[in-house]
Symmetry: C2
Subunit: 469 residues, 2 copies
């Protein structure tokens, strides 16, 4: 097993090492696309199941819409096509025949949902429409990295139509706060900042874009999910209208929102360390790994297998009975980030105990075998809470409030992390900062009370700024 | 609600009516692609969950591989490319740039799995590889029909590598018999014929293809799933080799197998009737629908809601509280094929009973409310068994054993159903029959003992023949 590059030496190489050596992804011979082997796919399946549950519990139904979009359909909403045209993959031939009209592989599905909604929304009784789909998406990216930015990626995309702006806006914020932020914090142990995107960072075709942003271990930001209020721009462009309670025709208000396999990159960079991946327990493919000690001694393997069978009822448990040494196994499962390791050898069997080791902090505990049924769930929760607290403390200690542009540039250059500073709302100030420092606005988190840190004019917003993935 | 065309009047139109009116699919403006709304997607999700469970229980792990295949990668296995080249969609541009090499959207993923396996199989210790993926597939079809043949469809594709031919062949038959046929019969209530494809009908690149074939209500065949022994053709073409137990290098033996959203078309055409869809209970999105009678009378709605809340614990239950008439609701839910309808009105409430109506045969039963917890699961099983028996009896009564070519053509022209006849194994006989009657070989089900019904030469095989979707 080759060593993993340390975070302090080369964070980018550390990331690649963790991704590939832990079995989360492998590079493919297809430009910008990855193979996601069993370990990575199992993680995504667990994340997907938990997210899907939340989406359904909030009243949404899953649908399955096409992969391909005719060029003329994509062009119907002008801001949208302008934003996405440079990054779509075009299908021009079917078999040996040239197509009469090019089709793009969906870079997002607003136009397909609108095309469907047009024929299915006529009256206020048909509203709200609360749809979601799990889908693969293709965007022609120039530089790619596993999970963070890939040509093909996997996501859920919610698409909803509402009678009123107020109802649509409530949906957008409900998804942001009660689905996305809740999921990130309670399943992934990933603290997030909730806020609104500035004009320059919002989705192509949106009135307002809201987001959750997470801080990676290197202090950079990862946009972890977005929720858009799309107004009536799309529904007007697609002639979707309904007869309201007052008998008048109106265009419904549209929202869309998504999280993707990008979150896997987030988990790696929030929780991982120099020994490899650290899996948040609630979505970990394997929550407990059992390593038998002195496996050849009579009774050890039987006892370990018996333990595995009983633990499988309460946690996703794997027993490692390969002929590698215990030390090798410890490194292997630490690299894969399994939250709890159980060691069981002849002495433990004699004493009716096992040793349980936490992946997040290395703490060892001797636990009675008869207590494991209650202790393992508690310890998994403890790992979850430990990871969340560590990430939250790090994030809070790395958000720097500033008043002046000089301070802003100083921090941008010398301190990894986020900057909290007020802003006048002018795109020119964002452009200037980006050009001078590479820092961009991540999220508007409140109103302004003072002066813009960049130009000194009256501030409209309090903003979190940072370098981003 | 418009009426559904009757099966006897126009089976094809009946199919389209059921698909669209029951909410299983809607036509899209994308060539050959469909929108699958909530009802159709919920059905597929239930089918997928049950199939996924079987695939995992037989030791397979899910993976997630790319959508796109570089042309040079597709071309490495010659039979495979010859079979698929005429029906792939080609991506030629990313954004505004022409690609240096065309990419096709996967029409199946053998070459991608081989590309991955090459770097991950070195020793017999790395075998078997038992992988599966749930994916969307694109094949450029000339004439399309919802679910049965669509440009984009959804499937699972298993891909496994083995040390020996015997082990690979055992895998192929295990999937056919214990996963696919078991799933079709025990989840979908769809009897199937298991057999082997002839040379002309097998998968491009396979040594042998096995299949399950189902008989639709119109007597035509639907290929419902295939399982291929691919030998070492792909692994040699992709330079996949391993050091065996004897220290020698060898190419692993490859299998692949798949079932798709086509099965939804099969369910519709096996179970549906002139009132619409009939859902097999174990995968039905809604298993029980409650229709309150005289909903405005005091206590009815409360009682019906209470009943719904308790039934939700044992079955997927929906309560229809719209202001449509009970008669309208009956038609609506019959069209959607919900297996059991519960009617509850003032008299039922007084008597502590409900009326339960079976969708498959219209039977009504008065059931004590206190017995529903045990009766509903029994009645769902009864519907499942009823559907299975009806389909099995129909299929058996519509398989015609023949000895001569004259009989064969007579049945092909005059009787819907399958023909059972011996065959010499020559492609020329298959071609002749197809040209004369439109009938093709569906499955080799046994060895031959007599003469080929077509040419009179010594028979090698007993074959099921039929017209197919």
């Amino acid at each position: 097993m080759d060593a993993i590059t340390s975070q302090s030496k080369d964070f980018a190489q550390w990331y690649t090492d963790v991704v590939t050596k832990s079995g989360l992804a492998a590079y493919s011979n297809v430009k910008g696309c990855i193979y996601i082997p069993p370990y990575g796919t199992a993680l995504w399946e667990n994340m997907r199941a938990e997210m899907d549950k939340r989406i359904k519990e909030t009243g949404h139904s899953n649908v399955t819409f096409p992969l391909l979009i005719p060029e003329s359909m994509l062009q119907r909403e002008k801001d949208h096509i302008a934003g996405f045209a440079p990054e779509v993959a075009w299908v021009t031939h079917g078999g040996s025949e040239k197509l009469a009209e090019r089709l793009c592989i969906r870079p997002t599905s607003e136009v397909l949902f609108c095309d469907y909604f047009r024929d299915n929304v006529h009256s206020y009784r048909d509203l709200p429409k609360l749809y979601n789909q799990w889908a693969n998406i293709v965007r022609w990216e120039k530089s790619t990295r596993p999970f963070l930015r890939t040509t093909e990626f996997f996501w859920q995309e919610g698409h909803t139509l509402h009678e009123t702006e107020a109802e649509a806006r409530a949906e957008v914020l409900n998804i942001l706060n009660n689905v996305y932020a809740d999921f990130a914090e309670n399943e992934l142990a990933m603290p997030v900042i909730k806020g609104q995107k500035t004009e320059s960072e919002k989705f192509a075709g949106a009135v307002d874009t809201y987001c959750i942003e997470a801080m990676m271990a290197d202090g950079k930001a990862l946009q972890a999910g977005t929720s858009h209020y799309l107004g009536t721009g799309f529904t007007r462009a697609f002639d979707i209208s309904f007869t309201g309670r007052d008998g008048r025709e109106a265009n419904p208000h549209y929202t869309s929102w998504g999280v993707s396999t990008r979150l896997i990159g987030g988990i790696i960079m929030v929780h991982g360390d120099d020994r490899g991946m650290v899996m948040p327990p609630r979505v970990a493919p394997t929550q407990v790994v059992i390593v038998p000690i002195q496996m050849n001694k009579t009774g050890v393997l039987d006892a370990a297998n018996g333990l595995a069978a009983s633990l499988k009822k309460i946690a996703r448990t794997h027993i490692d009975v390969t002929d590698n040494t215990p030390g090798w196994k410890y490194s292997e499962w630490e690299m894969k980030g399994v939250p709890l390791r159980i060691e069981i050898g002849p002495r433990d069997i004699e004493n009716g105990t096992v040793v349980v080791v936490r992946r997040d902090n290395g703490e060892k505990a001797v636990v009675k075998q008869s207590d494991l049924g209650t202790e393992i769930p508690k310890m998994l929760d403890a790992v979850h809470n430990g990871l969340y607290e560590r990430a939250k403390n790090r994030m809070e200690s790395m958000i720097f409030p500033v008043k002046t542009y000089k301070e802003m540039l100083d921090i941008a250059e010398n301190k990894p992390g986020f900057i909290r500073a007020e802003w006048c709302g002018a795109g020119a100030c964002e452009d200037k900062l980006k050009k001078d420092s590479g820092v961009t606005s991540r999220a508007i988190i409140d109103g302004g009370t003072d002066k813009c840190a960049i130009c000194g004019a009256k501030a409209k917003h309090l903003v979190i700024w940072g370098k981003s993935y």
